[in-house]
Amino acid sequence: MANDVTISRRQFLKTLGGGIAAAAAVSACGSGNQKSAASKSASGDSEGQMTYRTDLHGQQVSLLGYGCMRFPTKGGLSGREDRNAELDQEQINRLIDYAIEHGVNLFDTSPAYCQGKSEGALGKALSRHNRSEFLVSTKLSNFANSTRESSMAMYKKSFQELQVDYIDYYLLHGIGSKQQMQSRYVDNGMLDFLVGEREAGRIRNLGFSFHGDKEGFDYLLALNETYHWDFILIQHNFVDWNHAAAMNSRNLNSEYTYTELEKRNIPVLVMEPLLGGRLANLNDHATALLKQREPDASVASWAFRFAGSQPRILSVLSGMTYMEHLQDNVKTYSPLKPLSDDDLRLLAHIADIYASFPMVPCNTCQYCMPCPYGLDIPGIFSHYNKCINEGLVVENIKDPEYKKARKAFLVGYDRSVPRLRQANHCISCNHCIPECPQRINIPQEMHRIDRFVEALKIGDVDLGEMAVLASLLKQLDAGRLSCVISNNGEVSTYRQSGVQDLYDLLSEGGGKLKGALVADKIIGRGAAAMMVLGGVKAVNTHTISTPALQMLRNGGVQVYFDTEVDYIENRRKTGQCPLDSRLQNLTDPKECWPVIQQFVADLRAGVDVMQ
């Protein structure tokens, strides 16, 4: 493990080292032929000029791009916090004016942002400026309805809303797999249409925003031969650089995505430089480390310097609600001060700390909303993450901080999420799962948080135990293991298929199972019987069959699970699992044991147990 970290840090430094030199060069030449935009501001700001990068067509693009997903509302909050309120057009105008005045020229929006009000608000603000002063970027956000008609209507409407006759950067919004690409853009002919629009000059640059895994990314990159992507929008920041996949096995590290794009000379737009603001609000330890190094620099500025470091990065999009954020970000990139090797090492260290926290990787983008059952999904995750960050998720009841943290967590929970919208109302309808660009298994996380809240409220449940069980299951998923067992803090992992690991442990005397905490993928009658016989204390599993659940509960084993099924299917999904069917009418674990012994003996003797 320690070795892994060193290697990744070395790569981290190596890859970035070269990049920074190039970036500095680009920024130097960029500021040479600057328009007077930045120098115009004689308002006494102590900053220099905005750093610019160049796209495939020679257009100068400000390194800071204005993301319009979090425009302010009249309530003075962002659309995220106050979803009732109207957008505050006056304030938006002020923000856009300030941005343009200080050299920002890229504005990125989508028909989906701010409940569909973002494009219009941006259009109004920009219409007060000369078309040559800004570049506008929007997307084909045909998530809900991807027919040709409605996609076409969405495309046309963007022009009206933005009050422009050409769009500088147009994106296929949020794709990560061949299947998504096909169903939303290829089958309906929209991609061919958009390529035609690019030829006609109504789209200056065509690209897509990416959320997905390696397979999907490679497929989409291969399409470059056909479609010639002018740019690609990826999620990139100092945590995702090396830790995106570790935090969620369904995501891809930006080190990989960026490097692949650089190889192909495709300009890169960056989203989530702050991970939905989470990297601007690090825990005390990390904040102290950064402030120690540069007392006057904001925490966010470090993340921006990192995100902008690489030479092929065209612009870093940041959703800015408040003037202070805009001013701070403008300052960070006017001009970009490259990170030293020491700085990079520090950020790598902070990324390690960050990734070790059990946060939910939610960036509050709202795509999962509205939840049909009324939950405030991003609100719940934000609260949970905030509490983890502030050290308010104290899982040991004996911890002196427990009482205080418990109150803060519960009071804060009711404050940030109305009771009827809290995690205990999630019924796992799974409506949200395909919507999440971060590919979070939302219902699973909801149940985890619900169990945590419930334990806090009841006050006598072993939270430490629950935390261990949650981390064991995470370990199981990440390592594609068959079983993970923790006994008195000693964790063992297993990879054999089926029930064989449990069988071996139990035949050896079952010492490892006595009082153990177990994470398993699927639990049927066989596994349940052996866990009861071995004296397992608690188990956390993805899938469990109803009879197994009953057997475990009757055996006094605490069970946490995601899905309950009637019985366990066999590997070919043609019927019931052979062991499960052999144990069909048995409810007493003791009676099951000889049957299991016979089954494993058959299996190991090469008998086709499926017969």
Partner: protein, 492 residues
């Protein structure tokens, strides 16, 4: 001096008892819960012989100090009267006792207090529960609003010292009753001091018997008295006939105002010369006397507090409609509906104390204003037994969480036609997931077919009726699972 002692004690009692109803955190109750227990009617209903005897002995010794110090409704009248006296000095005058009214109210009170269906008439005039309703319905919202203001600032200051609570009308009927009682008593107190206590209050009448013969009482020394009449015009009980130099001790609430007022020092509080024990009026025995009374129908539609917050980002949550329970749900510890109805004085202390907003006053005429359980805003959480610890009338007997987990106050019933598994075709199981006793299992609708949708199956023998399933059921406005009450609670 005596008056100052009386006022200080009264302030202490009044403040703390009021706080019992206002403090939703339960802290005050830990230390001062006994102040509710020593109230007369709750003690009577709890068959708390010790307290009843002690109060009677107290009255027999010192007169109606209960009325001037312990009874919150009495002290509240003094507070109102204090301002009344400010606006007009020497405003009271002697009036003869309205015996007819006093005794008929007492008879009605005793006749109805345990009679089925009309108990609410007794509760209407019982002083402590009348005050409880006023505090719970009128004062608590103000207190909570103040708390919410503090919580607002605490939230902005990043402090968790205060948290926001919902301010809502739990039952319109009870709210109206409380408001009418308050206005009526306040007007009477403003104009005539303790008119209510001496013409209506049944506890005042009962204690009056004993006060008549109390050992210590204020006595007018006719040798010093110059018949100025100042005492009579300042007697809030209107019981001093200064012309005749007599005091009606059955109405005197031992406030000692007259002693302070008399500038000749003619009135003193002293041991009376001839001590004759009061004869037993046998009030307790007459409790079950019958009286046919046509029930006063308190009209008032129950309006559900609307709390809709609709916007684009969040799906609208339709308000949950309360199910139509055949048998009302009473909290664990109340043994049975009968036990609860017989003992509860409808003081709303448990309603104030319930942190999960489960207890609400009933609008049903038979149990009017007495609390019942309802799960629209929360459910009866396993770690909480607050209502059982606060009840002064023993209507809810004290239980611990372990006992609570084995008392079944009701059982869940599944309504197939509302279940989202059936109506929306989604998988659910929220009821089973949150059942604290494992009384609900998700079973295949069709056992022969793998992966057929799972519907909840309830084991009513295991169900304790906590309402977790009902509250957390996603079906709205009518839930797909609800708890039906049990007449007699049972062990599981």
């Amino acid at each position: 001096m005596l008056r100052k002692i009386r006022i200080s004690l009264a302030v202490v009692f009044y403040t703390l008892i009021t706080l019992l109803f206002l403090d939703f955190t339960g802290t005050i109750h830990t230390y001062f819960g006994w102040m509710a227990d020593i109230q007369f009617v709750p003690a009577l209903l709890a068959l708390n012989v010790g307290v009843v005897v002690a109060l009677l002995v107290l009255t027999f010794l010192f007169g109606r100090v209960y009325c001037s110090v312990i009874c919150p409704l009495g002290v509240m009248q003094d507070v109102v009267a204090f301002f009344g006296k400010k606006s007009k000095k020497n405003r009271y005058s002697f009036s003869p006792e309205r015996k007819w009214l006093r005794y008929s109210v007492l008879v009605v009170f005793l006749a109805t207090i345990l009679a089925p269906g009309v108990g609410f008439i007794a509760h209407l005039v019982a002083p402590y529960s009348a005050y409880g309703r006023i505090a719970n319905n009128l004062f608590a919202p103000v207190y909570q609003f103040g708390n919410n203001v503090l919580a607002y600032f605490a939230e902005r200051a990043g402090s968790y010292a205060f948290y926001t609570v919902d301010v809502w009308i739990k039952s319109l009927t009870t709210f109206v009753v409380a408001a009418v009682t308050f206005v009526l008593i306040a007007v009477l107190a403003w104009r005539g001091g303790r008119t209510w206590c001496n013409t209506v209050c049944p506890v005042g009448t009962i204690l009056g018997f004993f006060a008549k013969y109390s050992l210590y009482k204020p006595v007018i020394d006719t040798t010093k008295c110059n018949s100025c009449g100042l005492c009579g015009r300042n007697c809030k009980a209107s019981c001093i006939n200064s012309k005749e130099h007599t005091i009606d001790y059955s109405r005197c609430v031992a406030c000692f105002d007259c002693i302070d007022k008399c500038n000749k020092g003619a009135i003193s509080y002293k041991l009376r010369s001839v001590a004759q024990p009061a004869e037993d009026k046998g009030v307790d025995k007459s409790k079950r006397a019958f009286l046919t009374t046509s029930a006063l129908i308190v009209a008032g539609a129950t309006v559900k507090a609307q709390e809709k917050k609709v916007d684009g980002g969040l799906a609208a949550i339709i308000d949950r409609q309360a199910p139509n329970r055949k048998t009302a749900l009473k909290p664990a510890g109340s043994l049975s509906i009968k036990h609860f109805t017989d003992h509860c004085t409808a003081c709303q202390l448990c309603v104030s104390a319930c942190p999960n907003q489960v207890l609400v006053p009933s609008s049903d005429i038979e149990h009017l204003m007495q609390p019942e359980m309802s799960f629209e805003r929360g459910y009866c959480r396993p770690e909480c037994v607050k209502c059982s610890t606060v009840c002064p009338a023993d209507a809810i007997k004290p239980i611990d969480t372990a006992e609570k987990s084995s008392i079944s106050v009701g059982y869940a019933v599944w309504l197939r036609e509302n279940c989202v598994v059936v109506t929306d075709g989604v998988s659910c199981g929220n009821c089973a997931t949150h059942c604290p006793v494992g009384a609900i299992q998700m079973m295949s609708e069709n056992p022969d077919q793998y992966g057929s949708r799972k519907i909840p199956v309830i084991n009513p023998e295991r169900c304790i009726g906590c309402g977790a399933c009902e509250h957390l059921c996603p079906a709205r406005p009518l839930g797909a699972i609800y708890v039906e009450g049990r007449e007699v609670h049972k062990e599981v």
